[in-house]
């Protein structure tokens, strides 16, 4: 097990290196110039050249790449070309709102989707199953921003139960923190509830047709016991996979929700950085997303062994 983990962590290094190189090259070869964005339309060509020089953009691409890779090897992601602030500081500032939103969303999604999927499988073909599946189609089809606006209208504007927008760190008080996460988490959880519920249903239905389920029933085990001890556990591997993928998708794909609820997270940071051609910030965030993907995949692989004893590393 330990050797597997070490091997996987080491194998992530070349992956992340390739990601770093590709992101760097794609950014530098795409249109846009941070110096022009910063200096504005009145800047003379001499001023622009001086600005590029001071930002290190005049150096050959390969030299810039080597310097950047050397810096990140030492844990230094540089400074934002636009704000002049350390990139690590900017990313860490935005990481916590995204993590808070993603964590509450995935907990909510799993807590709701798992029983819904099981109930749908259990009641396969009956009205409850159809209701859950119809709901999942709706949840998957309606854009998150529409759900967000409707929730703001009802729960923030009409009922006044929650703030319209914003994020407060938990240090400002749990009430402030939680009240601002309720609406965005619920809005964002809809597609994930739909996705996970469908996967749970499909896999539970598949497992329920297996011989060992029939054997368990023949031995007199209750339906609840069959479901929790046999069906769910055997259906867990693909469910864990989709939950892992959902977490990764959530962290890197919350930009719309962050915008609608004005949560200053990583999604907004990377969008703003792209529009301003703030290369160092974009590079750092994409690298962070890639690292998260790699480690979520690793965690999912390790979890397989928990649910399926046949899987050993």
């Amino acid at each position: 097990m330990l050797s597997f983990v070490v091997k996987r962590v080491l194998s992530a290094v070349p992956v992340l290196f390739m990601v770093a190189v590709i992101v760097f090259m794609v950014l530098r070869l795409s249109p846009g110039d941070p110096a022009v964005m910063i200096a504005g339309p009145n800047a003379t060509s001499e001023q622009l050249a001086d600005l590029r020089e001071s930002m290190g953009l005049n150096r050959p691409l390969l030299e810039q790449l080597v310097i950047w890779l050397g810096d990140i090897g030492r844990g230094d992601f540089g400074t934002s070309l636009v704000s002049g602030k350390p990139v690590t500081e900017l990313v860490m500032d935005r990481l916590w709102p995204t993590l808070a939103l993603s964590t509450t969303t995935i907990i909510l999604a799993v807590a709701v989707a798992l029983p819904l999927g099981v109930i749908a499988a259990w009641q396969q073909g009956k009205w409850l199953d159809r209701l859950v599946m119809a709901g999942s189609v709706v949840g998957f089809s309606v854009p998150v921003f529409i759900i967000g606006y409707v929730m703001i209208l009802i729960f923030a504007r009409k009922l006044g139960w929650f703030p319209v927008q914003g994020y407060k760190p938990i240090a400002d008080g749990f009430g402030e923190f939680a009240s601002r996460l309720v609406l965005p988490s619920i809005a964002l959880s809809f597609p994930y509830i739909a996705l996970i519920a469908r996967i749970v249903r499909t896999n539970v239905i598949e497992v329920m047709g297996e011989d060992y389920i029939r054997t368990a029933r023949a031995k007199g085990q209750t339906e609840r016991g069959v479901m929790t001890e046999h069906a769910l556990r055997n259906a867990a591997v693909p469910i864990v996979t989709i939950i892992g993928v959902s977490i990764a998708m959530l962290i890197s794909g919350v930009v719309v929700t962050e915008s609608v609820f004005n949560i200053p997270g990583l999604g907004r940071l990377v969008l703003e950085a792209v529009l301003a051609r703030d290369y160092t910030v974009i590079q750092a965030v994409i690298l962070l997303f890639s690292t998260i993907y790699v480690f979520i995949n690793l965690s999912v692989d390790l979890l397989y062994g928990l649910f399926d004893p046949r899987i050993r590393y």
Partner: protein, 529 residues
Amino acid sequence: MLTKSFCSNLLKPTMLALALGTVSGAAVQAQTITAVMHAPLRAVDPVISTAYILRNFGYMIYDTPLALDSAGTPQPQMASWEVSEDGKTYTFTLRDGLTFHDGAPVTAEDVVASVTRWSKVDKTGQVMASLMTEMVAVDDKTWTMTFGEPTGIALIALSKPSGLAPFIMPASVAATPVSEPITSTIGSGPFKFVEEDYRPGVSATFAKFEEYVPREEPSDGMAGAKVVKVDEVVWTTMPDPMTSLNALMSGEIDFLEQTPHDLLPVIEGNPDISTRQVKKQGSQNLVRMNHTLPPFDNPKYREAVLLALGQQPMLDAQVGAGSDYSQACAAVFGCGSIYNYDYRADDIMNAHPEEAKAILDEVGYDGTPILLMHATDLATLNPQGPVIAAQLRDAGFTVDMVSMDWASVVARRASKATLADGGWNMFSTTNVLPDVANPIGFIGVAAGGDSAWFGWPDVPEIEELRMAIAQTADVDQQIEYAKKIDELVIDNGVMVPMGELFNVNAYSSKLTGLVESEAPVFWNVEKAE
């Protein structure tokens, strides 16, 4: 089954507890204006970037030597002035009580250093520097500016309200080369920047600068007393306009700098929300052609474009048909400026596709596509491209509209290459009216070839007239020169004015005393409990 009463019983106490937490926190909070500005603040050097959010930031924490009153006349702000009899030497004297936020007194040396740095970047400042023979600090409170000829440029430049305004910072900070953005936020303005609360792109906090000594005259435009009547102003960023409006209606924010015109009906009639149209914070649409590449190196084609385009369809697409928040305007320097002029108004304001077609027939246009850059990520600019393309096509042009984000337009418009190598024929944008109303500084009329704004028109007569405006202090003479520039700009296709649209501030009815000015400012604003 979950019943409504169950939900109410469970949720209401919870929400009440959360609300109580908020209220009890608010009771000890300072009086704060929370404002959503048009863009996030991500940098702090208001001199090297023309981003309007940095201009607004500058007005919070810095002061300017002079300022324009509501009539557009330069008035003393940090300093008063005297002019020598020959009109060549201006002597400025700083008023008493001016200190920087770190407690150091503001000196003439600080002003000289700040104006020197600013004039390396700003167009008006560059013209002023080119005419100036000397600028020296005579003593701690006095500095002089000497020119080769009698001129009014010193007053125009030092009271410039928009674009890059001449903000005064400590000399040690102003010594920073313009190739290096400053990181200091020490100013002498009515607000102090709260560095520890600054989150680039998210929020910025400005606290009342208790030691600020306002002028004694009443507030008038950017001039007069700057009296801070709240404890702090917090700028917060909200990328979604609908969310901003919901937050305003819920009382979570107090001020929304730019309200999307299509959302205005949502707040109309709401007694808790006030709106105001700020014409001085309006914008002029313009179309720019690349004079260095075919076909627009030929003035006939530029004339065809002028005739092909009409203003109303673009304004309708931007603010809605029949809206009061826009106006067709033929004047190059804006209809609200002292240089308002209706030269060839019909040609500019209305589309004449048949006349444009006739010109294209005359010059034998072969249908080679015109590359039009279309910025899609800014709400005001997004409608421009399709309207321009449609009007040009109606007149017989073949248009290749290339859609991209604004950053790509900014990068590509700097290219003088051929189309095959990444060049361009045409783009459109907006400039705020205070910038437009300045014939010396307005980049849209500069026509010095390589030194001109993107498109690089080369009309020496315009440059001579711009310099002539800078060299005279006679306002009537300046207006005459500006009218000649207007004519030359239109006849040479330097730019095509495409109408004006006006900004709408939406704000809590608790706010009073908002200043009518070229930039949104927060001095003199009161917030009722």
